[in-house]
Symmetry: none
Subunit: 137 residues, 2 copies
């Protein structure tokens, strides 16, 4: 069980109280959190600092960023960076939860000449088992 401080240090970023608290809020959450969700959980945090801390966590691989159905970014802790890059994700449009799938992400398709691929994401949406059952009963 490695501490949040160790995680940050290992990821090569400075350890600051803001980063520790934000990461721990993400890790403790059952669902991906929006910036507004985090402001509610950390009332003392500065708005802009919060955006920048989230950005840092994403860049260093400790968090994942995805857009929800309303067009708002949601963040979730990703214990190990390489873990989530090796599989696709499924987002339930009912409850908002994100599930990690077993299968490897598909290989990127051919790009036109001169194009450079920086990042790829296979985004699957639908209803999870829980919500499908609840919906159906």
């Amino acid at each position: 069980m490695s501490s949040t401080i160790d995680l940050l240090r290992t990821s090569g970023v400075k350890v600051t109280p803001g980063r520790v608290r934000v990461y721990e809020a993400l890790a403790a959450a059952a669902q991906p959190l929006s910036h507004a969700d985090l402001e509610a959980r950390l009332p003392d945090a500065d708005r802009v600092t919060l955006y920048r801390v989230l950005d840092t966590l994403v860049v260093c691989g400790l968090a994942m960023k995805a857009v929800d159905a309303r067009g708002v970014f949601r963040f979730s802790a990703s214990g190990a960076q390489s873990e989530h890059r090796r599989h696709a994700h499924f987002r339930c449009t009912d409850c908002g939860r994100v599930f990690c799938l077993k299968d490897a992400p598909p290989p990127p398709p051919k790009l036109p000449r001169g194009f450079r691929l920086a990042d790829a994401e296979y985004d699957l949406r639908g209803t999870c088992a829980n919500c499908a059952r609840a919906h159906h009963k």
Copy 2:
């Protein structure tokens, strides 16, 4: 070839110049258009009216609304939507343009028992040929 006016009338909404122009811009577009894209194509249109027209087209079934990777809503004429489901898209993080790729999207991976797939999108990001060249000079 049914006219836009007929389409609107059949959908049970009033026929106005704004609705005709917006629908035709969507139908003529190669990719889903954001509100900003449409403002550029229809410089005389009022911002708010444009939002309301788009909303009307979605409600009456003539357009589809989806959120893109930046969290911005993009609209497409209903007929065109099925077209874009048959290939993946590449978004240039420099200029923001979206390119339709030739290859078919990869087959969806196996989902856990009870999960229902509603929609899938293979989202590729990077720099397009133009921006890569400009960046490199």
